[in-house]
Structures are given as structure tokens and as C-alpha cells.
């Protein structure tokens, strides 16, 4: 039994490694079956009101943009969002009425977030980017917590669910954070096969630990590849199929963000969202980009257009290292 020196007051879901194992035993698909679905089907089947939602990266870079919009389109409610190395995506989901709690690492701030915090519609809990990734690491290892060398002593610690304890080996104080096993993870990737074998090229935050730690995993991929391609180059696999519940073919799925080696971010689009937030016209923004189109594909065709997509592809001139 660890003796607790200090304990943060933040709310968190109690770690339950055995409960997670039982979920895996009873619900995770082991068969090699096609998991290809549309955004609509993936979100309606695997994102539930009240879920703890995690995603890798953000709406600036290789984030699951098409899945964010589908969650808003389906008016999912009461999500507890992991804001680990995020951007305006947290505000977007708040504007869509989808969020009740946020675990903060970093998020782009602004009027939407400020209003939600002030009127109490969204409750924040403090961690840091690294602490949230570390909690996922614990979740991915099947252990209830992990010790680490930061967070202690700060107000961030005090508003988190971390503890300061005496390390039983060195007898020095050490911080520990509870494992996090999200209900659902959204991960945007360069390539996946129909079974869910997933390839991400380039740096990332914690896609592997997130996929391993989460009960339900939705992969959106720029490209669907033949399963034999995966087996020919197994070194390139980031996430193997049995962690994955749904595979969505989502070209330009990160839009308005970038995908390294494929296309750059659409800066004008972010500015439009920021301007809409500042002018209180977020509803118009959501109507135009989410509600008035039935799917990601329709948004690309009617709101973005081939010329814009080609320009964003052309602007990403640095391909080296991604598809070699």
C-alpha cells in the first residue's frame, strides 16, 4: 500500500485494469473481418453520449477532422474530452454542444471555451500533455497507475487526480498518475487495411498507447491498402488490427489540418472558425461546415472543392521520409 503524502482533488475515472481485461475478453473482435464503415456508421455505433473521448493530435495536424464533424452532426452529448496537445478542436466540439468535461493538457483558448467555463456548462480538470499521455501509457500496460517525475508541487497537480507518494524503492517522494482507459479513441492515419492494421508515418503524440488503452478504437485513414501490403512490410505497422473496431476511409480526413507528406493545413479555414467564435457566429459556421452537408465526402465536394484540395496537396512540398 502506497502512503499518500498529498492528493490532487480532480475528478477522474477510477482505474480498473481487470474490468478492462473483461471488456477486451467479451467485446474486442479477434477475427480478421472487414471493419470498413462510413463516418456516420462508426460514430453512431462506437461513440455514445457520456463517453470519455480521446484523439491523437488535433485539428491542426493529422487529427480526426471528419470524425469531429460527424460527432457534432450526430449531436453526441456529455463527452469527457481528453485535451492532450489539442487545438481549436475542443472549442469546436464545445460549440457543437457535445462536451461536459475536459481533461486539460493544452487546448487553443478563445471566447467559446471562456464562455463554457464561466457558465459552468463545461468542467475542466487539470493535467498536462505529458501527464495525459502517461496515463494512457499506464492504461496501455494494463497497470492501475505509473510513477513519474513531474506534476508534483504545482496547482496543476492540486487540480488533477495525481498523488504524491513515497517511492517504496528509493524512499523519495514521487508523483503517480492513475491509468486512463478512454471509452473511445479517434486516430487519423495515413493508411489502414480493412481489418484495422494501421500505418502512421511521421511523429505523433501517443497513437499506439491510445489505441491499446481505449475500449473502442475508430481509425480514419487517408488510404485503404490491401492487407498483403501490411504483411509485406510489418515493420511499418503502427497499430495491429485487433485493437481496432472501425476503419473509415477518409481522404482529407484531417481537414482543415495537415497530414504530413500529403497536404498542408488550410489556414483560412481556421481563421474562419476563430472569426466565427469572436463574432458569435459559430452557429453559422457549424451550419455551413457540418449540418448542411450529410457527410465528409459531401463537405469536400461542396464546401472545399477539388481546386482547394489540390492547392493544399501542392503546398506540402516535403514528402521525404513519409512514403519512401
Amino acid at each position: 500500500m502506497l502512503e499518500v503524502i498529498t492528493r490532487g482533488t480532480g475528478e477522474f475515472k477510477p482505474p480498473d485494469p481487470d474490468g478492462f481485461r473483461e471488456y477486451v475478453r467479451d467485446h474486442k473482435e479477434r477475427r480478421l473481418v472487414s471493419k470498413l464503415v462510413t463516418e456516420r456508421e462508426a460514430v453512431s455505433r462506437f461513440v455514445s453520449d457520456g463517453d470519455y473521448l480521446a484523439y491523437d493530435l488535433n485539428i491542426a495536424s493529422r487529427g480526426p477532422g471528419s470524425l469531429f464533424r460527424e460527432i457534432i452532426r450526430q449531436k453526441k452529448k456529455d463527452l469527457w474530452v481528453m485535451a492532450k496537445f489539442t487545438w481549436t478542436d475542443v472549442s469546436l466540439l464545445i460549440a457543437g454542444g457535445c462536451v461536459s468535461k475536459v481533461d486539460v493538457g493544452w487546448m487553443e483558448f478563445g471566447p467559446i471555451l471562456n464562455r463554457a467555463v464561466k457558465d459552468g456548462s463545461v468542467k475542466l480538470h487539470e493535467w498536462s500533455n505529458g501527464a495525459l499521455a502517461y496515463r494512457l501509457l499506464a492504461g496501455s500496460l494494463g497497470v492501475p497507475y505509473l510513477p513519474m517525475r513531474y506534476l508534483g508541487g504545482t496547482d496543476t497537480f492540486a487540480q488533477s487526480g495525481a498523488i504524491l507518494t513515497e517511492d517504496p524503492y528509493t524512499h523519495k517522494p514521487v508523483c503517480a498518475v492513475p491509468a486512463l482507459n478512454p471509452d473511445v479513441a479517434l486516430i487519423h492515419a495515413h493508411q489502414a487495411d480493412m481489418y484495422g492494421n494501421t500505418r502512421i508515418f511521421g511523429a505523433g503524440v501517443s497513437p499506439v498507447e491510445m489505441a491499446m488503452a481505449s475500449r473502442k478504437v475508430i481509425i480514419s485513414a487517408e488510404e485503404i491498402v490491401d492487407p498483403i501490403e501490411i504483411r509485406k512490410q510489418p515493420q511499418r505497422t503502427t497499430i495491429p488490427y485487433y485493437f481496432v473496431d472501425a476503419v473509415v476511409h477518409a481522404p482529407f480526413g484531417s481537414y482543415p489540418g495537415s497530414v504530413q507528406g500529403l497536404y498542408t493545413a488550410d489556414l483560412e479555414q481556421w481563421l474562419a472558425f476563430a472569426a466565427a467564435g469572436a463574432m458569435g457566429k459559430t452557429d453559422e459556421y457549424l451550419e455551413n461546415w457540418v449540418y448542411s452537408v450529410s457527410s465528409h465526402q459531401e463537405m469536400l465536394e461542396k464546401r472545399v472543392g477539388e481546386a482547394k484540395m489540390q492547392a493544399l496537396r501542392d503546398a506540402d512540398t516535403l514528402k521525404e521520409g513519409y512514403y519512401d
Partner: protein, 287 residues
């Protein structure tokens, strides 16, 4: 004195933002053959890349999203966050957990980041300003990676602006650690690695260090266009003052050209802020 002022106005002048000046100051501090952990994209990363470009080509750095020692091409891309341009010619593309571990193991000589508020012991805030935690006047993005960087790198360099609302007696929220209350061993008692802590606080007008014994902030250097009294007026608390105060070299014409053409051509990070115009010869401010 009047004569000097007359001469001053006849010399060439230099105009720059306070952010540009801070970027120049930090770029000169960049130490060759060391490893830096830089938080996100923006002015701190620009300062490091400028130092690498000018005098420290073999200095490496990691960023939170898992790029190890990238070597981006100049001019830098407008959007650095997570872009292929920002990660170009890295030695490894990995994950946040991996680079955080590099810091935990003691490989990161310096952490480099920005702060909203800092107190006399180098504790700093990036969470909210004004009001209470539950009802903040202005909520900000949170510590991001600053907590792990400031906890685990050997020396932390914090970039901010010299303003009374930033150099505060008490931070509205301590997002990331300095020396806490300054007492010996305070960081270790909180579980942080020994021998770490804030090292420099850099602003356009003044550079601060910390007293080895008391861990109090100490004014080490000021820009030629300001005075100690003017610096102290911009701080809520009174820092220690070094016995021999250094003079910070103002930005040079070449440095400013580099910032505006190669480091931050769009001016998104460095073009904003208060403009300062100085006499290029004397370094004194021109009203």
C-alpha cells in the same frame, strides 16, 4: 546631455518588436552541442532555430509531438505545429512519451518555453488570469508540455514580457514549477528530479537569473534603452540585483533581417507586440 541627445537622433535607427528583441536575446544564449526541449511552435522555437542558424549548428532539440533533432529548411514554414516542414530531416520521428522520457533521463540540457505570469521563484502560469480557478476572468490553454519540460530539463529558460501583470508576487495559478517557496530541496520534496530548475527569465528589456542559495530571481542584465528603475517599475515584486549588471546587446540589423526573411516571414509570432525604436549606435530609445 542635451548635446548627446542631439547626436543620437542623427544616428541610424532600428525598430523592432519586444518579441523580436527577446528572440534575439535567447538566440545568443543557445549553446552549441547541447540538447533543448522546446515547447510547441512559436517564438521560443524561433529563437532556438535562429541560434542554431547563426552560431550553434550542432545543437539539437526535441518537440513535444515527437520529432527528435529536426533540421528544418529556411525560410521556416508559416505553420510549424506538427507540419512536415517542422519535422524535416529529424534523426527520429517518435512520440511525446518518448521525448518526455528523454527529459526524465536527464538528456535535455535546456527547456525553452513561454509563460503568462512568473513569480520571484520562477513558478509560472499558463492556465488562467484573474478571478478564481472555477470562475476565471480569462482562461488560457493550460500547461501543455511546460510542466514536464520545467520539471525534468536541467535548466529552464522562460520567455515572457516585462510587465507588472506578468512579474507577479503570486501567480494566479502555478501551472508549472519553479523553485516553489525557494527553500532548499523544495523541488525534490515534490518528486521532481534533483538539480533542475528555472535558469533564465528573458524579456526584451531585462534578463534574470536565480540566486544559488535562496532561489530568488535576480536581475542580471538590462537593455541599453532602459534603466534599473524602469525595469523595477514593471515588476510587482523587487528582485535581487546582480552586483555587476550586464548590458544586453540590442538586436542588430542583420538579426532583424534574418527574423523577418527566414525565421518568421509572416510575422505571425514575432511581428506582434510593442514596437521599440532605438538609436543603432548608442542603443538608447527614441521616443
Amino acid at each position: 546631455m542635451t548635446d548627446t541627445e542631439k547626436t543620437v537622433t542623427e544616428n541610424p535607427t532600428l525598430s523592432f518588436t519586444d518579441t523580436e528583441a527577446t528572440v534575439c536575446h535567447i538566440s545568443r544564449m543557445v549553446e552549441e552541442d547541447k540538447l533543448y526541449f522546446v515547447q510547441m511552435a512559436g517564438a521560443p522555437l524561433m529563437a532556438l532555430l535562429m541560434g542554431k542558424r547563426l552560431h550553434a549548428p550542432n545543437t539539437g532539440y526535441v518537440v513535444e509531438e515527437g520529432a527528435v533533432c529536426p533540421d528544418p529548411e529556411f525560410p521556416l514554414p508559416r505553420m510549424m505545429l506538427g507540419s512536415s516542414g517542422a519535422h524535416f530531416r529529424a534523426v527520429q520521428w517518435t512520440s511525446m512519451l518518448m521525448v518526455d522520457s528523454h527529459a526524465a533521463l536527464g538528456f535535455m540540457d535546456y527547456g525553452l518555453l513561454a509563460a503568462l505570469q512568473v513569480d520571484r521563484f520562477g513558478n509560472f502560469n499558463s492556465t488562467f488570469i484573474g478571478g478564481t480557478y472555477e470562475q476565471p476572468e480569462r482562461r488560457f490553454g493550460g500547461p501543455g508540455g511546460a510542466n514536464e519540460i520545467a520539471s525534468q530539463c536541467w535548466r529552464t529558460i522562460i520567455m515572457t514580457k516585462l510587465q507588472k501583470r506578468k512579474f507577479v508576487e503570486k501567480c494566479d495559478f502555478v501551472s508549472s514549477p519553479g523553485y516553489f517557496d525557494g527553500t532548499p530541496g523544495a523541488r525534490e520534496r515534490a518528486g521532481l528530479p534533483a538539480g533542475t530548475g528555472p535558469w533564465r527569465i528573458v524579456t526584451a528589456e531585462a534578463t534574470f537569473g536565480f540566486d544559488d542559495a535562496t532561489h530568488e530571481m535576480r536581475l542580471d542584465a538590462i537593455a541599453p534603452w532602459t534603466t534599473v528603475d524602469e525595469v523595477l517599475e514593471q515588476m510587482e515584486f523587487r528582485p535581487l540585483i546582480a552586483q555587476e549588471l550586464d548590458v544586453m546587446q540590442p538586436p542588430t540589423d542583420d538579426e532583424l533581417k534574418m527574423i523577418r526573411s527566414e525565421i518568421d516571414p509572416s510575422g505571425l509570432s514575432t511581428g506582434k507586440g510593442d514596437w521599440i525604436t532605438i538609436d543603432a549606435v548608442t542603443g538608447k530609445k527614441i521616443a
